[in-house]
């Protein structure tokens, strides 16, 4: 019998629904989150093909026109198409937020592993530093860093990244402290593994599962922080297309009834953050029983 793609697809769908039944709500939460994120990621990648106009084009149509057939999200005060700016803005926000999250996680996880494993005074010093950073409200700290570093995509990424390092550090350090005492780590010592090997092959793989979930929430948070920073005028130069920036500029026009300038970028920020949050939450619920599957 020839392999039928329809049957194959049907089987996949069946397994898909089966997983849904198995995990209940969390599965669907995760799927919805993943869909949202995926949609926006696709939008970012295919921006030049989706957007009808260039986001910089200041001649797309009449100034400040409300949403209509040609400009589905209207135009702004510089006669730019809002929809095109939304589409291209996704690139910026994803780049900054994801990059910041990656930076945070790499630094936080590395230090967490080393600090937790080494213990003693090294651990005490690192913990002190991390706790101090952690005790600052994220946004305030980000503002301080952004102001210090000045404008630019790289600088804003760094500013956002710094805030989350302590989160990863604490999580990984705590787990490392616990896993350090596990019998399989002692067994690894007994077979002659060096500390570096133990950290990398025995402790790190057992710690990584929970960090995946934190990563997702991290990105969601980073999106909000990035938008807030640019809204406040810190971080990105006006030449970069950014939702937060558009949010700031559009604010002026709300009292005069021109709602579409801030609503659409604002909604997108919320949507993307929601997507990542749902992804993280759903993943956390699903991974937890697995982690406890002992």
């Amino acid at each position: 019998m020839r392999f039928s793609p329809a049957a194959g697809l049907g089987k996949l769908l069946q397994r898909f629904m089966g997983q849904g039944k198995k995990y209940g709500m969390e599965w669907w939460v995760m799927i919805i989150g993943a869909t949202i994120v995926l949609a926006i990621v696709i939008m970012a990648f295919c921006a030049p093909y989706i957007a009808p106009f260039s986001p910089y084009d200041q001649n797309t149509g009449p100034q400040l026109s409300p949403p209509n057939n040609i400009h589905i999200m209207g135009t702004d005060n510089l006669q730019r198409d809002v929809w095109s700016r939304v589409v291209f803005g996704s690139q910026t926000i994803l780049r900054v937020a994801v990059l910041a999250a990656v930076l945070s996680s790499v630094v936080g996880i590395t230090f967490g592993l080393i600090s937790g494993f080494a213990g003693g005074n090294l651990d005490r010093i690192f913990s002190l530093i991390m706790d101090s950073v952690y005790s600052f409200p994220g946004l305030i700290l980000a503002i301080a860093f952004a102001a210090m570093l000045g404008p630019g995509v790289v600088n804003i990424t760094l500013a956002v990244a710094v805030i989350y390092i302590p989160t990863y550090f604490r999580l990984v350090r705590g787990q490392t402290l616990a896993i350090k005492e596990e019998l399989y780590v002692e067994a690894a010592k007994a077979i002659g593994a060096t500390n570096r090997v133990i950290l990398w092959k025995y402790i790190f793989p057992n710690v990584i599962a929970t960090t995946v979930v934190v990563f997702s929430m991290n990105v969601a948070d980073a999106i909000m922080i990035e938008a807030a920073l640019t809204y406040l005028g810190l971080g990105l130069p006006p030449s970069v297309v950014d939702w937060g920036m558009d949010l700031a500029m559009g604010k002026k026009y709300l009292p005069s009834g021109q709602w579409w300038l801030i609503t659409f970028p604002g909604a997108m920020i919320s949507l993307l953050a929601l997507g990542f949050t749902m992804l993280g939450e759903g993943l956390s619920e699903i991974l937890n029983p697995r982690l406890l599957e002992r």
Binding site: A187, I191, T194, N206
Partner: protein
């Protein structure tokens, strides 16, 4: 027979974790005397049983021998040299020859490593084999311990196989580097009852095949009777009796040994115990009784037993006992 391992007056005292103020004002640092002067030697090719109840110091002794713990004092001599004077690098190379099997197979395997990776890891660490060569060696040892089909189980994770198979994985990992000496710490205590004899038989067979020497740590006297050549009975950090197993078990000299042997429940309803059982429990290792540590519970104790701590004396051929009355 050549002597493979020698333990000389080994001591391990664990500091008691008390509050900050206690430490300030305490005159004497309080310690847990987990191992308090243990000496014995193991000949190449024999199985020495280290037997005792919980808290007697047998597990700690095992860990000291493997240098997973640093001693408070004393020596462990392996291959003619004291292992506590080995450098980090020398110690690492020694671990190729000296392996361990822990009690809990589930806990001694990383949940994120496949069986093949776990067993093959010692080969990588010691640079004994790489790539396909390593894989083949792992498959070979898997077959030797009865993990079949090896190619199928190679890619499985510990939680995907049964408890008995997990213990076989741990055994395979211990033997893959072709060691000389294996410390087995309660290797069957956590296995299902119907699986225990299989693991015991496997350990015996592998000892022959790989020409191994075992230190078998257990609280289960019946098991030690089955697998050990010589036995050392420990109580509160000290060895109270040591000698050929058949002799110690059939003609125990130390009152603690005879009490232990009598207390083991026999799976035969026709047999009823007559030996007196001491009251009370094992005292704490922080403040062990004066003189002979067993005297408060000993049915033969005399006044001298609370004053004099008896040394190990030879009472038969290679049969040593620490008792004032013998």
């Amino acid at each position: 027979m050549t002597e493979l391992l020698k333990v000389e007056n080994l001591k391990k005292h664990f500091p008691l974790q008390k509050g900050f103020l206690d430490n300030l004002f305490a005159k004497e640092k309080r310690v847990v005397r987990a191992v308090d002067g243990v000496s014995f030697s193991i000949q190449k090719g024999e199985t020495l049983g280290l037997v005792g109840e919980s808290g007697c110091g047998k597990t700690t002794t095992g860990r000291l021998i493997l240098r997973l713990l640093e001693p408070t004092s004393g020596k462990v001599v392996y291959g003619g040299k004291s292992i506590f004077s080995y450098s980090k690098e020398e110690m690492r190379r020694l671990r190729e020859k000296m392996q361990v099997i822990f009690q809990d197979p589930f806990a001694s395997l990383s949940p994120r490593m496949t069986i093949g990776e776990a067993i093959g890891h010692p080969l990588k660490i010691h640079g004994l084999a790489h790539g396909k060569g390593a894989e083949q060696k792992v498959m070979d040892i898997m077959e030797k311990v009865g993990l079949e089909p090896a190619s199928f189980l190679y890619h499985k994770y510990p939680h995907q196989v049964s408890g008995g198979q997990r213990q076989r994985v741990v055994i395979a990992r211990a033997l893959v580097t072709n060691p000389e000496f294996v410390v087995a710490d309660e290797p069957i205590a956590m296995a299902d009852v119907s699986v225990r004899s299989m693991i015991l038989e496997l350990l015996i067979r592998l000892k022959e095949e790989f020409d191994l020497t075992y230190l078998f740590i257990t609280h289960d006297l019946a098991t030690s009777k089955y697998i050990c050549d010589r036995v050392a009975i420990m109580y509160l950090g000290k060895i109270v009796e040591m000698g050929p197993l058949k002799e110690v078990f059939s003609k125990p000299v130390h009152p603690y040994t005879s009490t232990l042997l009598a207390a083991v429940p026999v799976p035969d309803p026709k047999f009823r115990r007559t030996h007196p059982i001491p009251k009370g429990e094992i005292p704490s290792a922080i403040n062990p009784p004066s003189g002979c540590r067993f005297h408060p519970r000993c049915h033969l104790a005399s006044p001298e037993c609370s004053r004099e701590e008896p040394p190990l004396r030879e009472v038969g051929k290679n049969h040593w006992v620490a008792c004032n009355l013998r």
